[in-house]
């Protein structure tokens, strides 16, 4: 791996942070995998319940990524900081990927336990909306000039965050098929989960968070190349050169 003298001088701590977080991610991933394998199968769901160790961390990391995107977008709108915009973009990308993973793992889990791949349940529908909203956020970045695209992406990321509490509380606000939270359940009740399952789930959440954090640091660094800021958008420079073809479509 070769880095230019300039980037190294600009971000001296980034590689260290990436290495450290990468080590944490690798360690916790191994621990989580071991704990998940050792955790007992569920009394009702059997081995399928282990999809929880993928599904719940994915949903948590999606929430966390969108929170980072919200803060970074607000910072970009206030200061026009390009660094804040890179964080917003990286976090939005991570959040979209985690949401997709939550939807896919949830669909498989649903087929195995509920008997259906999909249901018009409030949690499922609101999560699908969340996915669409943040895909739109990545899309609006390519409209107009680079600066306008960045601002539109920031406004979209800020607005779409309103869906996060809707997704999280959908299982309480409406009757649906999706079960209510276990770990974030009402504190007056004893968490109704086997301690070995809770340990595996906790480790999986930490591991996924570390992976997500390492991705963010790597991605922000990769976007931070001074020579090609146009690389922040798919198609990059060519789109910028021919704006007429973009605007002519509608």
């Amino acid at each position: 791996m070769s880095t230019t003298a300039r980037t190294r001088a600009q971000r001296p701590g980034r590689r260290d942070a990436l290495l450290r977080l990468g080590a944490v991610a690798a360690t916790t991933l191994a621990a989580a995998a071991f704990a998940a394998a050792e955790a007992p199968p569920d009394a009702v769901q059997g081995e399928w319940q282990k999809l929880m160790y993928l599904h719940v961390p994915a949903a948590w990391c999606a929430y966390a990524s969108f929170a980072v995107a919200l803060v970074a977008s607000a910072a970009h709108l206030r200061t026009r900081s390009l660094l804040a915009d890179r964080w917003a973009l990286a976090a939005t990308e991570a959040g979209v990927a985690w949401t997709a993973l939550a939807l896919v793992s949830g669909s498989i889990w649903g087929r195995a336990v509920w008997g259906v791949w999909w249901a018009w349940d409030p949690r499922l529908v609101s999560t699908a909306l969340l996915f669409v909203a943040y895909v739109a956020c990545l899309g609006v970045r390519g409209t107009g000039s680079l600066a306008a695209g960045r601002r539109r992406a920031a406004w979209t990321a800020a607005g779409a965050f309103a869906l996060v509490p809707v997704v999280h509380f959908s299982v309480l606000w409406w009757t649906g098929l999706h079960q209510q939270a276990t770990l974030l359940a009402d504190s007056r009740q004893v968490p109704p989960i086997d301690p070995r399952m809770a340990l595996a789930l906790g480790l999986a959440v930490v591991a996924a968070s570390a992976v997500s954090g390492a991705f963010l640091i790597w991605r922000v660094g990769a976007l931070d190349r001074p020579d090609d800021e146009a690389a922040q958008r798919p198609g990059g420079a060519s789109v910028e050169q021919t704006p007429s073809t973009v605007t002519a479509i509608p």
């Binding site: 195995a112 079960q179 109704p192 989960i193």
Partner: protein, 147 residues
């Protein structure tokens, strides 16, 4: 992009967002934004339209004969009474996770005799996660069982 065009596009976007919001709010106010109803809600209404019911499978009522499955479904979280228990019949084989005393969602309609004819049975599981008893674990997946 010219200025009037941009304004028109922005107006379109705002209109679409407001229309979408109003649609959702209207649906919520009319009570159509529900995934499912409870047995007592449908039994009381005499409604024969296709609905989704969610409740608890009453223990001791599950009977499987040939392709037909029969069971009683009652409001979750209440003791069973005649007013909130409905007999369900279905030709859709419930998933393996279907159990008496557990939650289920049925899709279908009430027939003239008051039996709910379900085209689909979905298992609704709780947020409780307990280990499978060691004896059954050892038989199927593992040779050793933890103490």
């Amino acid at each position: 992009m010219t200025a009037p065009r941009r304004r028109r596009r922005r107006l379109l976007l705002v209109t679409a967002l407001v229309a979408g919001g109003l649609l959702v709010a209207g649906a919520a106010a009319k009570g159509t934004l529900v995934y499912s109803q409870s047995p007592s809600q449908v039994l009381g209404s005499g409604d024969s339209r296709s609905v989704r019911l969610s409740g608890t499978v009453v223990p001791g009522t599950l009977v499987v004969s040939g392709r037909e499955t029969r069971f009683a479904l009652r409001d979750t979280g209440k003791p069973a009474t005649a007013a909130d228990t409905v007999d369900v019949v279905t030709r859709d084989a419930p998933p393996d996770t279907f159990r008496e005393g557990q939650g289920a969602v049925v899709e279908g309609r009430l027939d003239a005799s008051g039996t709910f004819v379900a085209s689909q049975v979905i298992v609704k599981h709780s947020n409780v996660y307990r280990a499978k008893p060691p004896s059954s674990v050892g038989a199927t997946t593992r040779s050793t069982s933890s103490p």
